[in-house]
């Protein structure tokens, strides 16, 4: 008896599988890419699904590098249409794309992402310069004679007498995260330039020395999950954390931003570039898919529309620091017109 029921169940399952299999010529738009661009693509996908009544696009967070890899694997329904990136496409990635036939790509810079450094509202206010951040976090720093030594600073006060006498304790993203890449590039490598001790080293060694974070337990890699960092900061008022600006924006009741070089992170300061730790965000689209995938054209239009990206658009509500109007119009025209991108130089 049991056997027969099971066989029946299995048949139903196989038949339903076959039925849904017949319908497979992709009717959903596929978006992959950076976890930083993910919330924005998510918002556009939801809005597009609601407005058009078409099947909602599939948005997946794969990281910038992972997204590029899948994106550049080829054309056709088995490969995604759009990928988000928290940095521009690299030359090597562009070449991989060319090799697999993905030659006609449109690049769109959609806005900026600020990296915020913040601590609990229960803690003492802290203002830092990028240089002080570097000295607090690097694995090796120059001593008085300019020689590189293991980072001796244990408190902020020991870096600069004007800073509070609290222990250096920083929660930050792990090396696999795009946020970490951005932090290293914008804070660590930039500050590094100011010390002659590093420029003496050869290129690879310099890069390594500049980007290595201290490993004596004062910088703590807190995993990819920014929410966990927020929760840990809440329970430890002297600790500070590094994460995307949208998490600061959502948790204003718990967190207080650390002013960097005297500037508070906000939509205005990130947009005009006065806040020093911010990076551009991009998405890339395969132009060959525009006709083949139903709705892709409309989806892109929604992405660059005023309602989404304008000064009061819903992407702004999610924390995207939008482009200025002139830049946005130029970008939108490029996306709707399918402007082909040139080979990146780097």
């Amino acid at each position: 008896m049991i056997n027969k029921t099971l066989i029946g169940l299995a048949t139903i399952a196989v038949v339903s599988a076959a039925a849904s299999g017949a319908a497979h010529a992709r009717d959903r738009i596929q978006v992959v890419g950076s976890s930083t661009v993910f919330p924005y693509s998510q918002a556009v996908a939801e809005e597009f699904g609601n407005k058009s009544g078409k099947p909602a696009p599939v948005v997946e967070s794969t990281g910038t590098g992972g997204g590029m890899k899948i994106f550049c694997q080829g054309l056709g329904p088995d490969h995604p249409d759009v990928t988000g990136a928290s940095r521009a496409m690299k030359k090597s990635e562009w070449e991989a794309c060319q090799k697999s036939g993905v030659t006609d790509i449109t690049e769109a810079m959609i806005g900026y992402d600020g990296l915020s450094v913040a601590h609990s509202r229960k803690g003492k206010t802290l203002n830092l310069t990028t240089q002080q951040l570097f000295l607090g976090l690097a694995a090796q720093v120059p001593d008085k004679s300019g020689k590189l030594v293991a980072n001796p600073y244990k408190t902020w006060k020991s870096i600069d007498a004007s800073l509070p006498d609290t222990k250096i304790q920083v929660f930050g993203p792990p090396p696999t995260s795009g946020t970490r890449d951005a932090f290293v590039e914008l804070v660590m490598e930039k500050s590094c330039e100011e010390y002659p001790a590093y420029s003496k080293l050869d290129k690879d060694k310099k890069k390594e020395a500049c980007s290595r974070m201290r490993q004596d337990g004062l910088f703590i890699e807190a995993g990819e999950n920014d929410n966990l960092i927020v929760q840990r900061l809440d329970s430890d008022p002297t600790a500070i954390g590094i994460f995307g600006y949208s998490f600061l924006y959502e948790n204003q009741d718990k967190l207080l931003a650390v002013k960097i070089n005297g500037v508070d992170p906000s939509f205005t300061t990130i947009q005009d570039g006065s806040y020093p730790i911010s990076r551009p965000l991009y998405f890339y689209v395969k132009n060959a898919h525009r006709k083949a995938i139903p709705g892709l054209e409309a989806f892109l239009k929604e992405y660059v529309s005023d309602a989404a990206m304008g000064a009061n658009g819903y992407l702004h509500e999610r924390g995207l620091v939008a482009l200025t109007d002139a830049k946005r119009k130029e970008m939108a025209a490029g996306v709707t017109g399918g402007k082909k991108m040139d080979a990146p130089t780097k």
Partner: protein, 429 residues
């Protein structure tokens, strides 16, 4: 002999020495019992802490703050030719702003209109689509409030905090309090959590997509691993000769059961997606991957169940002239079925919580509608938890815990089913 018996006699069973030894043995017994007991107390305590913290953070998301108000379905905003694209937002906006006629247009009205969720217009669209005759009349609708007000109503973030330290400003609190005083605010059970798919707005996000995806995934897993597992076990147990080769196969099956799940994910990525070109994020691929992981569990459980059928039954059937095939299909397999089913359900329960391999094949996709087949992209419960845990919106913190509770509920249900089947069908010889 005499020496031996005198030796025996010298042993004093009631002497101080023996008593001390006896006492020590009893003490060791008690200690062992206590170790066991404290291990159980510790395990239960940890479980209680886990469940307690989940319930403490998650229970609030099982209710959702709603605001109820009258909406005039304005024919001017209704597009007869294309009802789907009508301007429902304006209808909601006009009607909602009417509740506070004193609020001047501009930023203040925008702040006021922050109170109802963006989902309100979708709800109105649904109502009108179901019954177009409401156009031109006034209807009462109850819609979720947006996340910051939901959090506020649930007591997250004190109203005494400085204005820039909370998500809702002083003016919005006054409006919200007035709505509450007028009885327009209610907190009903949050059905959205179960009957809608994911959304970027916590107040509109639900688990339907994840539950449907999990169902498809388990279906594929079951259809693949159950017959294959049983067939493999029957061959190994009933037909296979005992030699070097079967030993190697047996060892490998046992090893396979211990392989970390991420390895299966990498295998699926390389073979199913890149070589076979199967679609990304599809439950078919997820199910195939998980089936590979559950196969060893099912084979091992089935073999144990087959072994437990007494030889007398086999011999009796053979004795009355049944063939080997008849013995297995008519007698051994049905008798072993309770054990096989239990093993399978436990394997499935294991599969339902699997995350790592699914992340690699893209089953952590964000989708605002549930998938419609095993080739359509989908998420599963654990990957949905993963997505929510990583979202910045405050409302998702509680919803993550709620989703975990739902997943635990499913697990308990499945394990309960396994226990029930075992009790019900078990036979003693």
């Amino acid at each position: 002999m005499t020496e031996g018996s005198s030796n025996f006699a010298r042993h004093d069973w009631d002497g101080a020495d023996a008593r001390r030894r006896l006492k020590r043995r009893y003490a060791a017994n008690t200690r062992l019992k206590l170790y066991g007991l404290s291990a159980i107390v510790l395990a239960l305590g940890l479980l209680a802490v886990l469940l307690g913290s989940l319930v403490m953070t998650g229970y609030k998301s099982f209710v959702q703050t709603h605001v109820t108000f009258d909406v005039y379905v304005n024919p001017e905003n209704y597009d007869q030719a294309n009802p789907f694209d009508s301007d429902y937002r304006t209808m909601i906006r006009d009607s909602f702003l009417k509740l506070f006629p004193e609020v001047p247009p501009g930023p203040q009205q925008r702040q006021l209109f922050d109170i109802p969720s963006t989902g309100a217009q979708l709800k109105l669209r649904e109502i009108v689509a179901a019954d177009p005759s409401v156009v031109g009349s006034t209807i009462r609708i109850s819609v979720p409030v947006s996340d910051e007000f939901d959090q506020f109503q649930k007591g997250e973030g004190s109203r005494d905090a400085a204005e820039d330290a909370r998500r809702v400003n002083d003016r919005q609190i006054v409006w919200f309090d007035k709505l509450a005083a007028d009885g327009k605010i209610s907190t009903p059970f949050n059905w959205t959590l179960f009957n809608s798919a994911d959304s970027r707005f916590p107040e509109l996000a639900g688990l339907k997509g994840a539950i449907v995806g999990t169902f498809y995934l388990l279906l594929v897993t079951f259809v693949l691993s159950f017959p294959i597992g049983i067939a493999a076990a029957i061959y190994l147990e009933e037909f296979a000769p005992k030699n070097k080769w079967t030993d190697i196969i047996e060892i490998n099956i046992n090893n396979l059961a211990a392989v970390p799940s991420i390895v299966f994910g990498l295998l699926a990525l390389a073979v199913f997606l890149q070589t076979f070109g199967l679609p990304r994020s599809a439950p078919l691929v997820g199910g195939m991957t998980i089936a590979l992981m559950t196969l060893p569990t099912i084979i091992i459980a089935t073999r144990a169940a087959l072994k437990a059928v007494p030889p007398s039954i086999r011999e009796a059937a053979l004795g009355v002239g049944a063939s080997k095939h008849q013995v297995i299909i008519h007698h051994v397999l049905p008798l072993a079925m309770p054990g096989i089913l239990t093993g399978t359900i436990i394997g499935m329960a294991h599969a339902i919580g699997e995350t790592a391999p699914l992340l690699l094949i893209g089953m952590n996709a964000f989708m605002t509608s549930a998938s419609v087949g095993i080739l359509d992209p989908a998420t599963t419960l654990p990957t949905q938890i993963y997505i929510w845990a990583d979202s910045p919106e405050r409302g998702f913190v509680a919803r993550t815990s709620a989703a975990i509770l739902v997943l635990l509920g499913f697990l308990m249900l499945m394990n309960g089913l396994a226990i029930y089947l075992r009790r019900r069908l078990e036979r003693k010889w």
